[in-house]
Symmetry: C2
Subunit: 147 residues, 2 copies
Protein backbone atom coordinates (compact mmCIF):
# COMPACT_ATOMS: atom_id res chain seq x y z
CA UNK A 1 0.00 0.00 0.00
CA UNK A 2 1.65 3.27 -1.02
CA UNK A 3 1.45 6.24 1.30
CA UNK A 4 -0.56 8.06 -1.35
CA UNK A 5 -3.39 5.65 -0.85
CA UNK A 6 -3.43 5.91 2.94
CA UNK A 7 -6.60 7.97 3.08
CA UNK A 8 -8.50 5.34 1.17
CA UNK A 9 -7.22 2.08 2.70
CA UNK A 10 -10.42 1.70 4.73
CA UNK A 11 -12.47 2.60 1.65
CA UNK A 12 -10.58 0.00 -0.42
CA UNK A 13 -11.30 -2.70 2.14
CA UNK A 14 -14.90 -1.86 2.97
CA UNK A 15 -16.23 -4.72 0.87
CA UNK A 16 -13.64 -7.21 2.14
CA UNK A 17 -14.77 -10.32 3.88
CA UNK A 18 -15.31 -10.89 7.59
CA UNK A 19 -12.07 -11.22 9.60
CA UNK A 20 -9.95 -9.37 7.04
CA UNK A 21 -6.94 -8.14 9.05
CA UNK A 22 -4.81 -5.01 8.68
CA UNK A 23 -1.60 -5.20 10.77
CA UNK A 24 -1.45 -2.61 13.58
CA UNK A 25 1.37 -0.50 12.11
CA UNK A 26 -0.48 -0.27 8.82
CA UNK A 27 -3.72 0.70 10.56
CA UNK A 28 -1.97 3.47 12.46
CA UNK A 29 -0.42 4.78 9.23
CA UNK A 30 -3.78 4.64 7.45
CA UNK A 31 -5.80 6.60 10.00
CA UNK A 32 -6.51 10.08 8.56
CA UNK A 33 -5.22 12.02 11.59
CA UNK A 34 -6.36 15.64 11.68
CA UNK A 35 -4.01 18.65 11.41
CA UNK A 36 -3.05 18.15 15.06
CA UNK A 37 -2.36 14.45 14.52
CA UNK A 38 -5.49 13.43 16.44
CA UNK A 39 -8.69 11.44 16.01
CA UNK A 40 -11.86 11.71 18.11
CA UNK A 41 -12.42 8.85 20.56
CA UNK A 42 -15.75 7.89 22.06
CA UNK A 43 -15.64 6.08 25.41
CA UNK A 44 -18.62 3.81 26.02
CA UNK A 45 -19.34 1.97 29.25
CA UNK A 46 -18.96 -1.72 28.42
CA UNK A 47 -21.54 -2.70 31.03
CA UNK A 48 -24.32 -0.08 30.78
CA UNK A 49 -23.48 0.93 27.16
CA UNK A 50 -23.82 4.58 28.19
CA UNK A 51 -21.66 6.95 26.17
CA UNK A 52 -19.33 8.39 28.81
CA UNK A 53 -17.16 10.97 27.05
CA UNK A 54 -15.57 12.11 23.83
CA UNK A 55 -11.88 12.92 23.83
CA UNK A 56 -8.97 12.84 21.38
CA UNK A 57 -6.07 10.49 20.79
CA UNK A 58 -2.83 10.59 18.85
CA UNK A 59 -1.06 7.56 17.43
CA UNK A 60 0.82 6.85 20.64
CA UNK A 61 -2.37 7.01 22.72
CA UNK A 62 -4.14 4.53 20.46
CA UNK A 63 -1.15 2.21 20.51
CA UNK A 64 -0.87 2.32 24.31
CA UNK A 65 -4.61 1.74 24.70
CA UNK A 66 -4.56 -1.28 22.42
CA UNK A 67 -1.39 -2.76 23.89
CA UNK A 68 -1.99 -2.07 27.60
CA UNK A 69 -5.83 -2.25 27.68
CA UNK A 70 -5.94 1.02 29.61
CA UNK A 71 -7.64 4.11 28.19
CA UNK A 72 -5.13 6.63 26.87
CA UNK A 73 -5.88 9.96 25.18
CA UNK A 74 -4.09 13.12 24.14
CA UNK A 75 -4.93 16.18 26.20
CA UNK A 76 -5.39 19.11 23.84
CA UNK A 77 -5.28 21.61 26.71
CA UNK A 78 -2.15 20.20 28.32
CA UNK A 79 -0.67 19.15 24.95
CA UNK A 80 0.42 15.86 26.46
CA UNK A 81 -0.32 12.16 26.62
CA UNK A 82 -3.11 11.51 29.08
CA UNK A 83 -3.70 8.17 30.74
CA UNK A 84 -7.31 8.50 31.87
CA UNK A 85 -7.37 8.48 35.65
CA UNK A 86 -3.66 9.21 36.09
CA UNK A 87 -4.52 12.03 38.50
CA UNK A 88 -8.14 11.24 39.48
CA UNK A 89 -7.74 7.50 39.82
CA UNK A 90 -10.77 7.09 37.56
CA UNK A 91 -9.04 4.72 35.16
CA UNK A 92 -10.56 2.94 32.19
CA UNK A 93 -9.98 -0.76 31.70
CA UNK A 94 -10.42 -1.43 28.00
CA UNK A 95 -12.60 -4.29 26.80
CA UNK A 96 -12.64 -3.27 23.13
CA UNK A 97 -11.28 -0.74 20.67
CA UNK A 98 -13.01 -0.21 17.32
CA UNK A 99 -12.40 1.98 14.32
CA UNK A 100 -15.10 3.26 12.02
CA UNK A 101 -15.59 2.76 8.27
CA UNK A 102 -13.42 5.76 7.34
CA UNK A 103 -10.83 5.10 10.04
CA UNK A 104 -11.36 8.61 11.38
CA UNK A 105 -13.20 7.85 14.62
CA UNK A 106 -12.41 5.44 17.43
CA UNK A 107 -14.63 3.73 19.99
CA UNK A 108 -13.24 2.54 23.32
CA UNK A 109 -15.36 0.13 25.32
CA UNK A 110 -14.38 0.58 28.93
CA UNK A 111 -14.92 -0.55 32.46
CA UNK A 112 -14.84 2.84 34.13
CA UNK A 113 -13.57 3.26 37.69
CA UNK A 114 -15.43 6.13 39.35
CA UNK A 115 -17.02 8.99 37.42
CA UNK A 116 -15.85 9.47 33.82
CA UNK A 117 -16.45 13.24 33.86
CA UNK A 118 -14.08 15.81 35.37
CA UNK A 119 -17.16 17.35 37.02
CA UNK A 120 -17.48 14.10 38.98
CA UNK A 121 -20.61 13.09 37.12
CA UNK A 122 -20.91 9.54 35.85
CA UNK A 123 -20.69 10.74 32.27
CA UNK A 124 -19.99 13.96 30.41
CA UNK A 125 -23.23 14.21 28.44
CA UNK A 126 -25.34 15.81 31.15
CA UNK A 127 -26.77 18.75 29.16
CA UNK A 128 -30.02 17.64 27.54
CA UNK A 129 -31.07 19.75 24.57
CA UNK A 130 -34.59 20.63 23.41
CA UNK A 131 -36.04 23.53 21.37
CA UNK A 132 -36.17 25.37 24.70
CA UNK A 133 -32.44 25.03 25.35
CA UNK A 134 -29.99 22.88 27.29
CA UNK A 135 -30.77 21.62 30.78
CA UNK A 136 -28.58 19.92 33.39
CA UNK A 137 -29.81 16.37 33.90
CA UNK A 138 -27.42 14.85 36.41
CA UNK A 139 -25.51 15.72 39.54
CA UNK A 140 -21.96 14.97 40.62
CA UNK A 141 -21.45 11.67 42.37
CA UNK A 142 -20.85 12.11 46.09
CA UNK A 143 -17.18 11.67 46.78
CA UNK A 144 -16.47 10.19 50.19
CA UNK A 145 -12.69 10.45 49.94
CA UNK A 146 -12.51 14.16 49.11
CA UNK A 147 -12.58 17.10 51.51
CA UNK B 1 -22.83 36.70 29.18
CA UNK B 2 -20.27 38.50 27.02
CA UNK B 3 -19.01 36.84 23.87
CA UNK B 4 -15.55 36.74 25.44
CA UNK B 5 -16.77 34.25 27.99
CA UNK B 6 -18.37 31.92 25.45
CA UNK B 7 -15.71 29.25 25.76
CA UNK B 8 -16.27 28.99 29.48
CA UNK B 9 -20.07 29.17 29.82
CA UNK B 10 -20.28 25.41 30.31
CA UNK B 11 -17.37 25.57 32.74
CA UNK B 12 -19.08 28.36 34.69
CA UNK B 13 -22.25 26.35 35.01
CA UNK B 14 -20.77 22.93 35.74
CA UNK B 15 -21.59 23.17 39.44
CA UNK B 16 -25.09 24.56 38.83
CA UNK B 17 -28.06 22.68 40.14
CA UNK B 18 -30.15 20.08 38.38
CA UNK B 19 -32.50 21.49 35.70
CA UNK B 20 -30.47 24.66 35.19
CA UNK B 21 -31.48 25.87 31.72
CA UNK B 22 -29.51 27.73 29.05
CA UNK B 23 -31.75 29.07 26.26
CA UNK B 24 -31.10 27.48 22.86
CA UNK B 25 -29.65 30.57 21.15
CA UNK B 26 -27.23 31.02 24.03
CA UNK B 27 -26.20 27.35 23.92
CA UNK B 28 -25.49 27.57 20.21
CA UNK B 29 -23.39 30.71 20.74
CA UNK B 30 -21.50 29.06 23.60
CA UNK B 31 -20.48 25.88 21.79
CA UNK B 32 -16.75 26.06 20.99
CA UNK B 33 -17.11 25.26 17.27
CA UNK B 34 -13.84 24.21 15.63
CA UNK B 35 -12.09 26.17 12.88
CA UNK B 36 -14.60 24.81 10.35
CA UNK B 37 -17.55 25.77 12.57
CA UNK B 38 -18.24 22.14 13.47
CA UNK B 39 -18.55 19.85 16.50
CA UNK B 40 -18.29 16.06 16.54
CA UNK B 41 -21.59 14.23 16.95
CA UNK B 42 -21.98 10.67 18.19
CA UNK B 43 -25.12 8.83 17.08
CA UNK B 44 -26.23 6.11 19.49
CA UNK B 45 -29.05 3.65 18.87
CA UNK B 46 -31.74 4.54 21.41
CA UNK B 47 -32.93 0.94 21.58
CA UNK B 48 -29.77 -1.21 21.55
CA UNK B 49 -27.47 1.58 22.86
CA UNK B 50 -24.92 0.62 20.19
CA UNK B 51 -22.76 3.50 19.01
CA UNK B 52 -23.67 3.77 15.33
CA UNK B 53 -21.46 6.50 13.87
CA UNK B 54 -19.51 9.66 14.47
CA UNK B 55 -20.12 12.61 12.19
CA UNK B 56 -19.96 16.40 12.37
CA UNK B 57 -22.55 19.15 12.74
CA UNK B 58 -22.60 22.90 12.33
CA UNK B 59 -24.95 25.24 14.17
CA UNK B 60 -27.73 24.87 11.62
CA UNK B 61 -27.54 21.06 11.75
CA UNK B 62 -27.83 21.04 15.55
CA UNK B 63 -30.73 23.47 15.42
CA UNK B 64 -32.58 21.44 12.80
CA UNK B 65 -31.98 18.21 14.71
CA UNK B 66 -33.32 19.68 17.94
CA UNK B 67 -36.30 21.39 16.33
CA UNK B 68 -37.35 18.68 13.85
CA UNK B 69 -36.23 15.55 15.79
CA UNK B 70 -34.52 14.24 12.66
CA UNK B 71 -30.77 13.64 12.56
CA UNK B 72 -28.93 16.39 10.67
CA UNK B 73 -25.18 16.70 10.15
CA UNK B 74 -22.74 18.69 8.07
CA UNK B 75 -21.01 16.71 5.33
CA UNK B 76 -17.34 17.69 5.32
CA UNK B 77 -16.77 16.00 1.94
CA UNK B 78 -19.75 17.61 0.24
CA UNK B 79 -19.45 20.83 2.29
CA UNK B 80 -23.19 20.89 2.75
CA UNK B 81 -25.99 20.29 5.20
CA UNK B 82 -26.80 16.59 5.38
CA UNK B 83 -30.09 15.21 6.60
CA UNK B 84 -29.14 11.62 7.44
CA UNK B 85 -31.01 9.33 5.07
CA UNK B 86 -31.88 12.03 2.54
CA UNK B 87 -30.51 9.85 -0.26
CA UNK B 88 -30.40 6.37 1.34
CA UNK B 89 -33.71 6.58 3.17
CA UNK B 90 -31.91 5.49 6.33
CA UNK B 91 -33.21 8.36 8.42
CA UNK B 92 -32.68 8.94 12.13
CA UNK B 93 -35.60 9.79 14.34
CA UNK B 94 -34.18 11.65 17.32
CA UNK B 95 -35.15 10.68 20.86
CA UNK B 96 -32.54 12.79 22.62
CA UNK B 97 -29.75 15.30 22.03
CA UNK B 98 -27.11 15.89 24.69
CA UNK B 99 -24.08 18.11 25.01
CA UNK B 100 -21.01 17.26 27.05
CA UNK B 101 -19.42 19.12 29.96
CA UNK B 102 -17.30 21.35 27.72
CA UNK B 103 -20.01 21.85 25.11
CA UNK B 104 -17.67 20.53 22.44
CA UNK B 105 -19.24 17.14 21.72
CA UNK B 106 -22.82 16.16 20.97
CA UNK B 107 -24.69 12.90 21.43
CA UNK B 108 -27.76 12.09 19.34
CA UNK B 109 -29.95 9.23 20.54
CA UNK B 110 -31.69 7.87 17.48
CA UNK B 111 -34.15 5.37 16.16
CA UNK B 112 -32.26 4.34 13.04
CA UNK B 113 -34.09 3.25 9.89
CA UNK B 114 -31.97 0.70 8.04
CA UNK B 115 -28.18 0.50 8.35
CA UNK B 116 -26.44 3.56 9.79
CA UNK B 117 -23.23 2.97 7.82
CA UNK B 118 -22.71 3.94 4.17
CA UNK B 119 -21.23 0.42 3.70
CA UNK B 120 -24.69 -0.92 4.54
CA UNK B 121 -23.53 -2.30 7.87
CA UNK B 122 -25.67 -1.70 10.93
CA UNK B 123 -23.02 0.57 12.39
CA UNK B 124 -19.76 2.15 11.34
CA UNK B 125 -17.49 0.72 14.03
CA UNK B 126 -16.81 -2.62 12.37
CA UNK B 127 -12.99 -2.65 12.60
CA UNK B 128 -12.01 -4.28 15.89
CA UNK B 129 -8.50 -3.42 17.04
CA UNK B 130 -6.04 -5.57 18.98
CA UNK B 131 -2.23 -5.60 19.27
CA UNK B 132 -2.34 -7.72 16.11
CA UNK B 133 -4.17 -5.10 14.06
CA UNK B 134 -7.68 -4.24 12.91
CA UNK B 135 -10.13 -6.89 11.82
CA UNK B 136 -13.53 -6.66 10.09
CA UNK B 137 -16.22 -7.86 12.48
CA UNK B 138 -19.48 -7.40 10.60
CA UNK B 139 -20.94 -7.74 7.15
CA UNK B 140 -23.28 -5.52 5.17
CA UNK B 141 -26.95 -6.07 5.75
CA UNK B 142 -28.58 -7.85 2.82
CA UNK B 143 -30.48 -5.32 0.76
CA UNK B 144 -33.49 -6.79 -0.94
CA UNK B 145 -34.32 -3.70 -2.95
CA UNK B 146 -30.92 -3.35 -4.64
CA UNK B 147 -29.74 -5.03 -7.80
Amino acid sequence: MSTNSKSSLFKQLEKSELNTLIPLDEVLRAIPWNEQGLVPVIAQDALTKDVLMLAWANEEAIRLTVELSQGHYYSRSRKAMWRKGESSGNVQQITGVSLDCDGDAVLYQVIQSGPACHTNRKNCFYWSMSPEGARITSEPVTRVSQK
